[in-house]
């Protein structure tokens, strides 16, 4: 018991790391999960574009155009009159589109020379750019046609506005039957947890195992008279206990963050997470067999886990990765964890416990065993050659 207690006490040194990673998890994991959550839809909802309008004309027509945009889109203040800053704002999604109405716009439209009467700034050829440019063109074309067909300016603006209001009744029918493609909040949080949990387990457990390798600590335990089996069993139990505690804390954090959402598949997410715990422990053992320097443990863990997170769909969804990268990711344990999370998300609750789900868990366990085995071989070789 004294060895067990000593190992647990050594975890105190990593308390800052645990707090930092859990804070990152609660802030960024939550943001990412909320941003990617989607639910089944039954009614059509038009996408609105965040548009910043700079009206340098302040005419009747420009005001009507701004009013039309305010009614149909999300109009925001550009915050600058410098086109370069506006370009940066659209490229970094502060807003989606910047519209500049130049001085003399109304006069130009009335004169019949309508070419390039307005200028817009958009982040390349995107869907939002296409959509809003089409809508603006449509609106202005109507005004121009009415003006050229004998209507006054006020009549042209009024007719165009009424028509646009009437057209808003034309709506698509949404036939959303599939269970797939709707990402739950928990799916997002557990996916991000792949990074947090692996980092925490690798750093905390590797540092704890390193503590046991400390010559002074090792010598004191050796002379204590404790049976070889007892002290090794206590060490293994303590590391597993730490892993179990960290994993449970991560699961509790996710459950608390998602109290507002229904969590019917909790048990399956928890099983997948506890299976990942063994991979984390195996990896920690592998890393601490390579080095006992805490800084190097941190560096190696960062390199391994960050790389895996990018390649296995934790930070970037696998649909955006190239096919060859996804193929290569099959040889990494986090891929099977995220695949299992997707499977839980996409499958009706009664069908989750299946051969497919079990095979994902088995592959994760096999990866854990491979890491343990690699760690054992390295440790043995180091002892053999007294490195």
């Amino acid at each position: 018991m004294s060895v067990f207690n000593a190992i647990l006490k050594s975890l105190k040194a990593n308390i800052t790391t645990i707090i930092v990673y859990l804070t990152i998890f609660t802030v960024f994991g939550n943001m990412q999960a909320k941003a990617t959550t989607s639910t089944q839809e039954s009614a059509f909802e038009e996408v609105t574009v965040k548009v910043a309008v700079t009206d340098n004309d302040n005419s009747n027509l420009s005001q009507a155009l701004v009013d039309y945009l305010t009614e149909t889109q999300e109009v925001v203040a550009p915050g600058t009159d410098d086109p370069q800053v506006m370009n940066d704002n659209v490229r970094f999604a502060i807003y989606d589109y910047a519209l500049i109405i130049p001085e003399g716009f109304e006069e130009q439209i009335k004169s019949g020379d309508v070419e390039d009467a307005l200028t817009y700034i958009a982040p390349g050829t995107t869907a939002s750019q296409f959509l809003l440019t089409e809508k603006l063109n449509d609106y202005l074309q109507d005004v121009v046609v009415y003006l050229n067909s004998g209507y006054s300016e006020n009549e042209a603006i009024s007719l165009t506005h009424d028509q646009m209001v009437k057209l808003s009744n034309t709506q698509a029918t949404v036939v959303d039957k599939s269970e797939e493609n709707h990402r739950s909040y928990y799916s997002g949080m557990y996916t991000f947890n792949g990074y947090t949990l692996m980092m925490l387990l690798c750093v905390c457990c590797a540092c704890t195992l390193t503590f046991m390798k400390n010559r002074d600590v090792n010598n004191r335990i050796s002379v204590s008279g404790m049976h070889f089996f007892t002290r090794n069993a206590a060490s293994i139990a303590a590391v597993i206990f730490i892993g179990f505690a960290i994993t449970t804390v991560a699961i509790i954090v996710i459950s608390l963050m998602g109290l507002e959402y229904e969590n019917t598949k909790f048990i399956f997410y928890a099983i997948d997470t506890y299976t990942l715990m063994f991979v984390g422990l195996g990896m920690a053992y592998f890393i601490c067999s390579i080095t006992v320097n805490e800084s190097l443990i941190n560096m190696v863990a960062n390199m391994f886990v960050l790389s895996m997170s990018f390649l296995c769909g934790v930070f970037v969804d696998t649909q955006y990765l190239s096919a060859s990268i996804v193929k290569a990711a099959h040889f990494l344990p986090l891929y099977w964890y995220t695949t299992a999370i997707k499977f839980i998300n996409d499958t009706p609750i009664n069908n989750i416990w299946s051969r497919q789900f079990a095979s994902y868990l088995l592959i994760e366990v096999l990866f854990a065993m491979v890491f343990f085995a690699a760690g054992l071989i390295i440790t043995k070789k180091k002892e053999q050659y007294a490195i």
Partner: protein, 381 residues
Amino acid sequence: MFGRIFVYKFKEIIRNRYMVGWNFLFPIVLATVFYLGFGNMIKDDPDSFHTIEVGYVNTNQAESNFETVLDELTEETDGNEAILSLRKYGSKQEAMDAMNSDEIFGFYMEDGEEIETIVPTNGYNATVMNQIVREYENKKNVIDTIAKDHPENIQSALDMVTENLAIIKEHDFGNNTSPYVQYFFALIAMSSLFSSWISTTILEGICANMTEQGKRFECSPTSKLMAIVAGICAAMIMQAVSNAVVVIYVQKILKISFGAPLVNIIAITTLGSALGVSCGVLMGSLIKNSRLLMVVPLCFTMTCSFFSGLMWHQIRQLIESKAPILNRINPAALLVDCLYTRATYGKTAMYYQDITIMSIMIVVSLFISAILLRRRKYVSL
């Protein structure tokens, strides 16, 4: 003597596995990971507009005008991708099956005068499909209204409606680098600020209250100023080489263009290295606790890197729109902005402003450090 100390300091740095790992290896590994993660998005922006696969069912016997409109939209215009890719189906059920098996995104169903748009989910594709129907109906309404009020002008109205008026044009900025390249700029900024560790390690090596090496150094009849300058030069060269390796690796091996001449990029990153080293010297002269000399540079580097867009590429621009002063005092944000401005807009006033602020920061940091370090004797530590 300067040369001798310089060589020894350089050897000391490159033999430190921990520093080589963080300053050389880590940025290359992270660049590779970024490439594997975002490489696709740099070459093919996920937000780009792509042709929508749609179906069309016409239960009317006669050919419809709407079908002609859809056919026109399947053609590429001015080198731009076609808006739609059209497949025709005999019945609604056939089209529904195709939609459910992801053959098409959605479909149009024309029955009598009615045109129904059927989609599986909301989003841009659904809105674009719906907008096409709205535009079609809008044009019909315009003609109907003019035919009623001003029948004499109907022909010119018809001509104008069918003609595509280019009322709105895009502002052209020339070289538009992908916003995802920002992650690589932030990575270089982080790598540059990592050099603050090198400086603190060098200062540790000459402080008698911190290391055994420092005690030996204090006893030696060597000018302290010369030793510090030699150490700073060694650190700057080491970091400049490290940054140049990362830049060349990204440009030549990963084939991601930074959008500016390689020499210019390396010159900017060298300035960034000098900034990182001088920040480290300032920290080293302010802090006297060896534990804090590890923690403070790490926290400083990671905080500055986060706010320059290493983890979330929008944050720097968000700060720029709310509190631009923070971007002017954050060394990582300055370096990222300098690289980004050079790549996107060329050598503008903003580019020179970033370079000036970074240069001032270097001079001020070294000046304050010189004041703090001067006349610091072993007895007064």
